[in-house]
Amino acid sequence: MKEYLPILVVFLFVLGFAVTNLVLAHLLGRHRNTRAKLMPYECGIDPVGSAHQRFSVRFYLVAMMFILFDIEAVFLLPWAVIFRSLSEKLSRPFVYAEMMVFLIVLLVGYIYVWKKGVFEWNRG
């Protein structure tokens, strides 16, 4: 059972992180309940009414960004799996730096879409 200890730690950390954030938001945030805020959460879409309505093109933009940044995470997993064995062959900082270069390139993409105003919902 001992080898499962790290997983327990991760669970506790995640739980603690979530609870801390909720508590802090409750204590520090201002409470102004509007009608929109009290509706069931449906990713910004009106939950009542016909399902056959057109969605704003902005949803597609966000969805595309999500796909891109989400998929890039697949490269992190194999890297993490072979990190130890590869570090023995090459130097550990080098293997670490390899992935950092990849992440920096991703970050540049993020800065680009940010500057282009993709995340501004009320644009134009």
Partner: protein, 500 residues
């Protein structure tokens, strides 16, 4: 997974690193300052491309079959030569781009960034030593060019061209990928040199599957180089895209796909003496290519005869040129294909550049009848166009003649049982003279159109035009220098170990 022969030789991918980094920086320039971008971006991308050129030349003395990055990158003469042609295409296109973007009032920054990413993909295709890299390079360049084809965002024709290019491009990429997957399954490796070794050793696990895989790869590559019977997207995409983008689509990616095509087929599957399935596969793909080449040239030339739009005519002519180039595969050497691609790229870029300048905003004037009588109005454009047309028709002393001559001659010598193909090609080039001469006749011997005004020519466009003209004449008159470079053999071709 072995880590022992990783061979992380970063110097060998310096060209790709420079272009990719330049693309990223260009994106940031555009994101942070649009105004500065218009002046800065073209200069910066030219600088980056010249640096890439220098890095390729610096890599020349290190050319060898030793693969780096666990066999993913091969740094031999084929790679370096094609990389040189690709970057030269990129430089000429960049020189032309600034006037195009200014005249059409299009956003500049992304165009250069996309061009850099496309060039990165093309360079990756040229240096690929593994099917994975071939696919990755192909898609990197394709995805960038899909966007470029639709760069004139509000133009319906550009939209349609971009959509068709995207749908058919990814459709064909899926075929190529399935072929690669089956080849991997049949041989147990994705390394191109490894596949060759397995064919020679006669250790193919599933021979029938290999045949299907190779056939599907042939279809995928056939789509990408736009040879018949997989050419149907070409005229529409070439006509609808902005002319400068058409110039890029018709040259750089085509050169790069031919490099990867040579690598996979002429090197990886070029095993005429291998036991059992190896020799059978060689016979099959050589014959299939011969048929594709024959259909491609004949179809391209005959349909081009009927075209009245300059861009469509050049599109069909590029299908025909693809057919001529395929004849060079019969030699399983890269020299004929390489030299033909060099001459084709120069004259194609030049011809499309002039069409671009005469077309005006929104590609309004691309019919051949629009060129009536302009011959002596704008001699600085009409005479170069005449040179490029004559070169494409294969009339000496232009480069086009030398390219055709070299391909036909080496195919004639190397494969006696496929000489009919060379004869078909010669008949075809005679037919093609008619439609290449037609624009010249219209330009010089028809009464002029009344509403013609002289187009503006920026210094950078003039430089680009000068490079293509000088190149077309130089390689036609003095081809020996280029041929000497092409005939360099990478040392130690035989002693390559299989890498898994």
């Amino acid at each position: 997974m072995q880590f022992s022969n990783l061979n992380l030789d970063y110097f060998s991918i310096l060209p790709e690193i420079i272009t990719a980094l330049a693309g990223v920086i260009l994106m940031l320039i555009d994101a942070f300052s649009k105004k500065a971008g218009r002046k800065l971006s073209p200069m910066f991308s030219l600088f980056a491309l010249v640096a890439t050129l220098a890095s390729i030349i610096a890599l020349w003395p290190r050319a060898s079959y030793t693969a780096s990055f666990a066999g993913m990158i091969v740094n031999d003469h084929l790679r370096l030569y094609f990389a040189l042609v690709i970057v030269a295409c990129g430089i000429i296109a960049t020189l032309l781009a600034s006037q195009f973007l200014d005249d059409e009032a299009l956003p500049p920054g992304e165009f250069y960034a996309l061009m850099m990413f496309a060039t990165t993909g093309m360079l990756m295709m040229a240096s690929a030593g593994d099917l994975v890299m071939v696919f990755l390079g192909l898609e990197t360049s394709s995805i960038a060019t899909y966007v470029m084809a639709g760069y004139r965002r509000t133009d319906l024709r550009a939209n349609e061209s971009s959509l068709k290019y995207f749908l058919l491009g990814s459709f064909s990429a899926a075929f190529l990928l399935y072929g690669m997957a089956l080849t991997y399954g049949a041989t147990g490796t994705t390394n191109i040199e490894g596949i060759r070794q397995i064919l020679i050793a006669g250790k193919v696990i599933y021979p029938q599957m290999l045949l299907v895989g190779v056939a599907m790869m042939l279809v995928g590559f056939g789509f990408k180089i736009a040879t018949a019977p997989f050419h149907l997207w070409t005229p529409d995409v070439y006509e609808g895209a902005p002319t400068l983008v058409t110039a890029i689509l018709a040259t750089g990616p085509k050169v790069a796909v031919f490099a990867a095509f040579l690598r996979v087929f002429a090197e990886g599957l070029g095993t005429p003496t291998a036991p059992a399935v190896g020799a059978q596969i060689y016979d099959n793909w050589i014959n299939a290519l011969a048929v594709m080449a024959a259909i491609g040239m004949t179809f391209g030339n005959i349909v081009a005869l009927a075209q009245r739009n300059m861009k469509r005519m050049l599109a069909y002519s590029s299908i025909a040129h693809g057919g001529y180039t395929l004849i060079g595969f019969l030699t399983t050497e890269y020299a004929p294909v390489g030299f033909y691609m060099l001459t084709y790229a120069l004259m194609s870029l030049g011809a499309f550049a002039i069409v671009q300048m005469l077309a005006r905003e929104g590609d309004a004037k691309t019919e051949i009848s629009d060129y009536a009588g302009i011959g002596f109005e704008v001699p600085n454009l009409s005479f170069p166009l005449a040179i490029f047309m004559l070169s494409m028709a294969g009339i000496p002393p232009m480069a086009g003649f030398m390219g055709k001559f070299y391909v036909f001659k080496s195919a004639w010598v190397s494969s006696p049982n496929l000489r009919w193909l060379v004869i078909v090609a010669i008949i075809n080039s005679i037919i093609s003279v008619y439609y290449y001469l037609y624009p010249i006749v219209v330009m010089f011997f028809r009464p002029p159109v009344s509403d013609f005004t002289k187009p503006r020519l920026s210094p950078m466009s003039q430089l680009a035009l000068a490079i293509t003209i000088i190149g077309t004449l130089y390689f036609g008159l003095f081809p020996n220098g280029a041929l000497k470079v092409l005939q360099q053999k990478t040392p130690g071709a035989q002693q390559v170990a299989v890498q898994k």
